[in-house]
């Protein structure tokens, strides 16, 4: 698998990965603000799935119809839809595209559910790799605390209840998140994750993120007043 830069796309894709509660969304939001305020062509890919795929996914989830295999496939369908309709056109048009989660979320989650790792990776190999992946590594306890402090209503699949790890959704969520963290760490080197210490203050992390982005992406090329030559 190659990155968008290696494939000759004019755009660049930057992804953040990490557990819920690792602070990754905050960091990518701050990165977006910084890039925007410099007048760069930046696009934060907030995903609205096409109605069709969304309907099928939410039906499957509500009625708890999904097995590990269909869970994996329906999310791959959703990702492909997003990839082909949104990400590729933006990257062709020369945007810096920011993604809160990318294929690695699926790799970790589906493998924990028992799908063979090579099968899952094989399915997603139609997608190019991000040019930069930040992995926000917080201790499991910190992430859990941030999520569970509010005693949120955990959804069935979100808590990994389908894995029958525990009948208590909170306990199930803890075990599930722990396993996902293990999977992330195991693939970190393979996919050249830029590992961030998510226990640091927000500003300290953002400084590192900005430095790395500036070092690896020729930001001047992405000024809004420039058009892409194809």
């Amino acid at each position: 698998m190659k990155t968008f830069a290696e494939l000759g796309f004019p755009g660049r894709l930057i992804a953040v990965e990490g557990l819920d509660g690792s602070g990754k969304s905050t960091q990518i939001y701050l990165l977006k603000r910084w890039l925007e305020l410099q007048g760069l062509k930046v696009f934060f890919s907030e995903w609205n799935s096409s109605t069709l795929v969304k309907n099928a996914t939410s039906k499957g989830k509500k009625r708890e119809l999904l097995s590990p295999t269909t869970f994996s496939l329906i999310h791959a369908t959703d990702f492909a839809d997003r990839y082909e309709r949104q990400l590729v056109p933006l990257l062709r048009a020369g945007y810096i595209v920011l993604c809160d989660r990318y294929i690695f979320t699926a790799f970790a989650r589906d493998t924990v559910r028992g799908c063979p790792a090579e099968w899952v990776r094989g399915i997603y190999n139609f997608a190019a790799l991000p040019d930069l992946v930040f992995f926000f590594k917080a201790s499991l306890e910190t992430s859990l605390q941030r999520i569970l402090d509010g005693r949120p209503q955990l959804k069935y699949f979100e808590a990994g209840m389908d894995l029958r790890l525990s009948t208590d959704p909170y306990e199930s969520f803890r075990i599930f998140q722990g396993r996902i963290l293990e999977q992330y760490l195991a693939m970190s080197a393979d996919f050249k994750f830029l590992v961030m210490d998510a226990n640091q203050p927000i500003e300290a992390q953002q400084n590192i993120v900005r430095d790395l982005v500036a070092a690896k992406v020729d930001l001047a090329k992405f000024a809004l007043n420039k058009t892409v030559q194809s």
């Binding site: 795929v53 099928a56 119809l65 791959a76 990839y83 082909e84 090579e118 099968w119």
Partner: protein, 248 residues
Amino acid sequence: MKNARHLAAKKNRRCIVPRNKPRRFYGQGVPGVDLTKLAGKLIVVEGADGSGRSTQIARLVEWLEGSGHATVQVGLKRSTLVSEELDQAQQGNILSRTTLSLFYATDFADQLENIILPGLRAGFMVLADRYIYTLMVRDMVRGIDLAWLKNLYGIALVPDAVFYLNVPPEELVLRNFSKNHSLDFWESGMDLGLSRDMFDSFLQYQARVALKFKELQGTYGFTMVDGRQSPEEINGELRRRIESVLEA
């Protein structure tokens, strides 16, 4: 004809009890399946629209049930999970090729886990009106990589028999006209832009599909059946082959 079948049923009161044969998936399969527990048989009928698949399957069901075998049927786009959405997607032609491909794979996986495998576990004869091969061929014709498809459909169970009803495109056109009075957008491969003329596109598309099926035959070894024979002749051939599967 019907009388003859009834006589045959009377004569052979004893039902053949199929033996459990070792099974495998094409690839890694789906998690959590005990392959030694699948007592039934999986029989697949492949072929283009108008090749006579549904006629043949209806006859096989009657014959199998007459011989004391319980049956269950599956087919493309029949899953609880995504069939409605797939139908809508086709109406509008709005999903791009990888998305549509994965959507179909989801539909297949849902039926595999909820109908095919439970059916086989319960000792049923599972009759599949098309299987992964049609899905693969449609994608191959649209430029999707074969290695990618093989990995994706590594979840599929290897059937006990696969029949491909082979009918040349020129003949298929006539059968489609007499059945539906018109050609279907997808069966004519209109999304590929081969020709703006639907008749021309149908012929080109079906020829490409047939070619890809032949390509897959090497790997998956289906039984090619001459679909130009009479329905009775075809059914006789299918029964003979299924009988040998049941007696093996």
